[in-house]
């Protein structure tokens, strides 16, 4: 079992005809994902990679019954793409696009309030439920079906952690990249809630990083609501503080943004901290052995 995407996911790809859209749509199809439609304005009526292409998300849903969207729309148009999908009531939108202006995302979040759509990303690797559905750019072959949920702000670091898990024979229920932007559509807490409810997830691996306070929020959730064990790695212990950040922002984020503060909060909440990024797999193995 899994969260967010599974065998019943009927995926639509927004930006299917672009170079990244094409490359990764092909990989998703090869993985066994049911890609039922593509959307590229102006290319409606054509076929791309054997998938019917539509001008609008609304039309694509009407014709194919798509129930999730994967987005490769360029940054200048991505917020509009998210809004388009949200306006149709699309239950899940996974936005891969990197570099969306912050104020565009402010509008998106305002529009998402009260809507049925769950947004994952932007600037993320996507979501995969191994053996069922790959809605993202992650390498399919490194995953193994199983019962550990993975949540991460990073892309490639997650691939590495997943490889460690798989090589130890530890499978994953679902791996969710929530993305590295300041205003992610879904937070650690949002996804932890889903894993806590998912009967087939036994433990969760959480990969955080410096900046913001999402890890501290996760710590509160873990300490009050989470019954399943959580293994954590926080990237950026060696990162220089305040680099490239404006005065007020850097100051206000202040100490809360540091790796050490996040590790402290999560450790106090009862999570198990991996001492270095190459040991997340082994740490998870030890935790699973105690269950």
């Amino acid at each position: 079992m899994s969260i967010l995407v599974d065998k019943n996911t009927r995926l639509l790809v927004q930006g299917i005809t672009g170079s990244e859209g094409s490359f990764h749509t092909q990989r998703c199809i090869e993985y066994g994902t049911r890609i039922v439609a593509g959307v590229t304005p102006g290319k409606g009526g054509s076929q791309h990679l054997g998938v019917p292409v539509f001008n609008t998300v609304e039309k694509a849903i009407a014709e194919t019954g798509a129930n999730a969207s994967l987005m490769f729309v360029p940054p200048a148009f991505a917020a509009d793409g998210i809004l388009e999908a949200t306006a149709t009531g699309m239950p899940l939108v996974v936005c891969i696009t990197e570099g969306i202006p912050v104020l565009d995302m402010v509008k998106v979040h305002r529009y998402l309030k009260g809507e049925a759509t769950r947004l994952i990303g932007p600037n993320c690797p996507g979501v995969i439920s191994p053996g069922e559905c790959k809605a993202g750019i992650m390498v399919g072959g490194i995953h193994l079906p199983g019962s550990v949920g993975v949540i991460s702000r990073s892309g490639t670091l997650t691939y590495d952690v997943v490889s460690q898990l798989t090589s130890l024979g530890i499978g994953q229920s679902t791996c969710v990249g929530i993305g590295g932007d300041a205003l992610p559509g879904s937070t650690f807490v949002d996804i932890l809630e889903l894993f806590e409810e998912d009967q087939d997830t036994k433990a969760v691996v959480l990969i955080g990083e410096i900046g913001g306070t999402m890890e501290q929020e996760a710590a509160k959730f873990i300490s009050h609501k989470m019954t399943k064990p959580v293994v954590v790695f926080i990237a950026g212990s060696t990162a220089p503080p305040g680099k490239r950040m404006g005065h007020a922002g850097a100051i206000i984020t202040g100490s809360a943004g540091k790796a050490s503060e996040k590790i402290k909060a999560l450790s106090q909440a009862g999570a198990t901290i991996a001492s270095n990024p190459a040991e997340v797999g082994l740490t998870t193995k030890k935790v699973l052995e105690t269950l």
Binding site: A76, L103, G180, E209, G211, A239, N276
Partner: protein, 416 residues
């Protein structure tokens, strides 16, 4: 209203390489440029102009015709305490003050010991001030909304103020659908203990600052201090604007304002070569990694293995061999470097393209130190084949730990 600690804890911007790596950094501009922009939006600023020479400073002081302030234009804060702000009673004194600043390096608590170069000074009318207030706008990571922050504790470090007297800091979240509203201005104005006409005046100022923030895709708009003068006027005595790098494509005018002299030279070099996510660090291992999280984790792991990284470098996902070649150019030109670490886990980035780039780099330049390479992910087999068939000499690493460990040993000269 949310508590002050909530906003202190919940600003979601990333002050780190991860931020700059993944969500775009923040372009800074000088105070004189920020004031010019604010003036365009109807925000009152002191009379003045920027000078590049002491003679110009003298002319401007003569034009203003009263006591002036000479302010060193650097990106760092803490100028006052560092001697970067001087007063002058006449044009001669202005010239002298400017000559003491222009061409020097100003060391403040934000610059590090090397200081920031001063090539311009802002010469402006001195103001008699009765009150110093604080005002800023930035996007809150929790509410996902722009928030206006104001405080009576102007002129001082806002974080210190928030800790010592949180009850003196007020915030108002702004709904982008209806923009900044007069009632929010009144709430903040009464919080600042303003009265009478000043409430209307400061509300207008806040409305204008919000308009500027939105129009120009700012990541930070700060007036600290915003002062009340002895003749009861409201004035932006200092001004700071930062901009969202991700939105610069729609603001060519802002892009042109950047003063490259104020940035780390290696980081400017990297950006000129298309490597947007480079941060200089203190060590001797040149790192080329894809993905900001992985790049940070690599640097952490290097330290865990007993070494130090010379940089943070996220090569990004554009599958561009030129960027790989340019990364190697950066390393070869960097005298500190003793070894190169390459750790690529292909996803959006394809391993074969990275491998091609490495081979091109070896063809274009002499790489005078050991290179430790670990490849995994999308198009791995093709990438391995390209490296093997090229005949270049490098140290292969099998996994994440191995690449860091071997790079640390190589930098110390204990590997072949």
């Amino acid at each position: 209203m949310k508590t002050v600690f909530a906003f202190l804890a919940n600003v979601g911007s990333n002050p780190t390489p991860s931020a700059s790596g993944k969500q775009g950094g923040n372009l800074k501009i000088h105070e004189y440029q920020a004031k010019a922009l604010m003036a365009q939006y109807g925000i009152p600023v002191p009379r003045g102009r920027v000078a590049s020479t002491p003679a110009e400073a003298r002319e401007i002081a003569a034009e203003i015709g009263c006591q002036v302030v000479i302010k060193a234009q650097v990106y760092a804060g803490g100028r006052g305490k560092a001697g970067g702000i001087k007063t002058a009673n006449n044009p001669e004194e202005a010239e002298k003050a400017a000559s003491q600043l222009i061409g020097t390096k100003l060391v403040t608590h934000q610059t590090g010991p090397e200081g920031a170069p001063v090539s311009k000074v802002l010469v402006e009318e001195a103001s008699d001030v009765t009150r110093e207030l604080y005002l800023s706008i930035l996007v809150d990571g929790e509410s996902h909304l722009p928030m206006m922050i104001s405080s009576e504790a102007g002129g001082m470090d806002i974080e210190e103020a928030a800790q010592s007297s949180p009850e003196r800091i007020f915030r108002s979240d702004i709904d982008p659908a209806i923009s900044f509203q007069p009632f929010q201005g009144r709430k903040l104005a009464y919080g600042l203990n303003l009265g009478g006409g000043q409430v209307v005046e400061v509300t207008r100022l806040m409305t204008n600052l919000y308009k500027l923030f939105i129009d120009k895709d700012c990541s930070l708009a700060e007036i600290n201090p915003m002062v009340i003068t002895t003749d009861e006027k409201l004035l932006a005595l200092d001004a700071k604007l930062n901009f969202d790098d991700n939105a610069l494509y729609r603001h060519k005018d802002i892009q042109e304002l950047q003063d490259k002299e104020q940035e780390e030279p290696l980081e400017i070099q990297a950006r000129d070569w298309g490597i947007n996510n480079y941060v200089k660090m203190d060590g001797d291992i040149g790192c080329m990694v894809n993905g900001a999280g992985l790049a940070m984790a690599v640097n952490d792991l290097i330290q865990y293995c007993g070494g130090t990284a010379a940089n943070f470098l996220d090569i990004g996902t554009l599958n561009n061999t030129e960027r790989v070649v340019n990364s190697f150019k950066m390393f070869v030109a960097d005298a500190r470097i003793r070894a190169i670490l390459v750790n690529i886990f292909g996803g959006m980035a394809r391993v074969d393209v990275i491998a091609k780039g490495i081979v091109e780099a070896y063809q274009q330049m002499n790489v005078p130190f050991p290179v430790v390479i670990r490849l995994a992910g999308t198009n791995l087999e093709e990438g391995r084949r390209i490296l093997a068939e090229s005949g270049i000499s490098f140290i292969q690493a099998k996994d994440f730990y191995d690449v860091a460990n071997k790079a640390v040993k190589a930098a110390k000269g204990v590997m072949e």
